[in-house]
Amino acid sequence: MDILVCVKRVPMVGGKMVLTADGADVDTRLSGFTVSPHEECAVEEAVQITERDGGSVTVLTLGPPESADQLRDMLALGAHRGVLLETDGREWGPIATAAAIVQAVGELGTTSFPLIFLGNEAADTGGYQVGVRVAHALGRPCLTGIKRLQVSGDVLRAGRDYRGAQEVFEVGLPAVVTVKEGINLPRYPSLPGRLRAKRAEITVLEPQWQADGLRKERLRVPETSAQRAQILGNGAAAVPELVRVLDELGVLPSGAHSSAAQPPAAQPSAAQPSAAQPSAAQPSAPLADARPGGDGPAA
């Protein structure tokens, strides 16, 4: 099966969000770029499917010429072909982006990509809609937020998280699927993969920008209570102080806080919930069943 995966070049931000002086964009002079995490998983999923069932993986991005770097990163993971929808660097909204992808699907030749993957949402703009718009324009079903996927013949069976359990969907191909991180654990690029990616030719198309109805005025970093934590101490010596704080926050096991070590005159903490029993009474079954990586196959 020939699979198309759409990825987006996004700034690699670390501990702090820094904006350009005019507040129009994230300052990327020092940060570098990466691919949205959901999309890296989408590429991995596509590569795994083609390794198992044959076919090819085409990875596509829309962005400035430097976005070819992100295509090569994905080629190094095992994608076969890169397509760059080259822009002049300005931001494209979801309507324009989806239209450009749909047009590219038409232009890329005989194959119509029975399976198209995208990330559930881009890490930066977080529009939550390009995949659905692409699917609608192509007259295909779209599954979103997918964390478990099985392809058998022409049928897709997919699951996503819902209210702590999962909801399951089953559709026929062709289809569009937007995935979430956790569907798999992406591999690291191999050295031969990197070499192959470096040499690979990238197809370049030049779509037309269009207005989207939403105009960005400026970005700003939300005013959180930019406080500095009160330092309780160093190492294990700080534990008595830490216990006192946890007691004050009302999170210690019930019964423990009324220890005789505390003088009864101490005023009751405001953070102490009046009925701490319910949560303490619940079984503390750990979530983990030590299955690293993905969250398992679709049931």
Binding site: V26, A123, G159, P253, A261, P286
Partner: protein, 353 residues
Amino acid sequence: MSVLFLAERDGDAVEDASLRALSFARSLAEASGAGLTAVLFAASGGAEQSDGESAEIGLAAGQLAALGATGVCVVSSAALTGYAPAGWARALQQLAESVQASAVVAAATDRSSEVLARLGAMTGLPVVANCVSARPGSAASWQLVRQRWAGSLLEDAVLEAPCALLTVAADALPADTAAAAPAPDGSQPTGAELALGSFVPELAEADLLVRATESAEQATGMSLATARVVVGGGRGVGGPDGFGPLEELAGLLGGVVGVSRVVTSQGWRPHRQQVGQTGTKISPELYLACGISGAIQHMAGCLSARHIVVINTDPDAPIISHADYAVIGDLNEVIPALIAAIRSRSEGHVTQA
């Protein structure tokens, strides 16, 4: 003119995210001088709607009315049994046309986000995801604030569209905002004036290609999203074998373990334990973050925590500027000592005062 609000419900109760988003929709409707019609979907479809479900929908509708919905519309169709995103979007499209909606608003849940995206695709209208505020400007324009980077950045934007399609970053809004007109006697306040309508959409086959079947598999244990205490572990845990003490501590505190993205990317722990932008957003009373530096993608998942306490070797770790308290030290030393201290208290061994 009307603002439509897509409400998700679980049986007889409106989902918490929808309740939070409803206050956003109510403000928008009030500022636009429009009514606020909440839309509920019946699960059993058409005439087969059971008495039980009718009663459940009635309770959910009352909840919506109490929080300011001026009307509640129940969508049902024999073809629409269970969740079908394009079917829901088609119904909203037809409803929006019939009431000449100026806006369609929903919480930014997985379901509502995809329904509004479909609605945007069907109508060709822009969809603005994860709004935190909206006010009407001049004709067919809105001044919006929305989240980027899962809330680590805010975007001020102007939307121009004949009908605004908005999802609301519900976890950024307070719960339980006061009702528009709370009844003094505490009975169901506006139930009497509530206009409970029904709507039967016209659906094509293509609208029903995607349908959900809820799996029988139920969640066991406590969920990360709703836990009262989360003990977080990051790179500082050191490897897949280092999580035992964190699990033990979480158990003692009646909570669960959450981890940073580094931990799931390394395969040390399963992804479902990840706290952050691409994992789970948590809102516990206490987030005890151990060996986590605090990249913005991680902080986006835990800023709703009421209190953050950090154990970290690095006094300059970014997470410390988001925390209430910090212990500077190696978690492998601090956590066992903390466990011992809590155990000795619980067992009634009075430590030296």
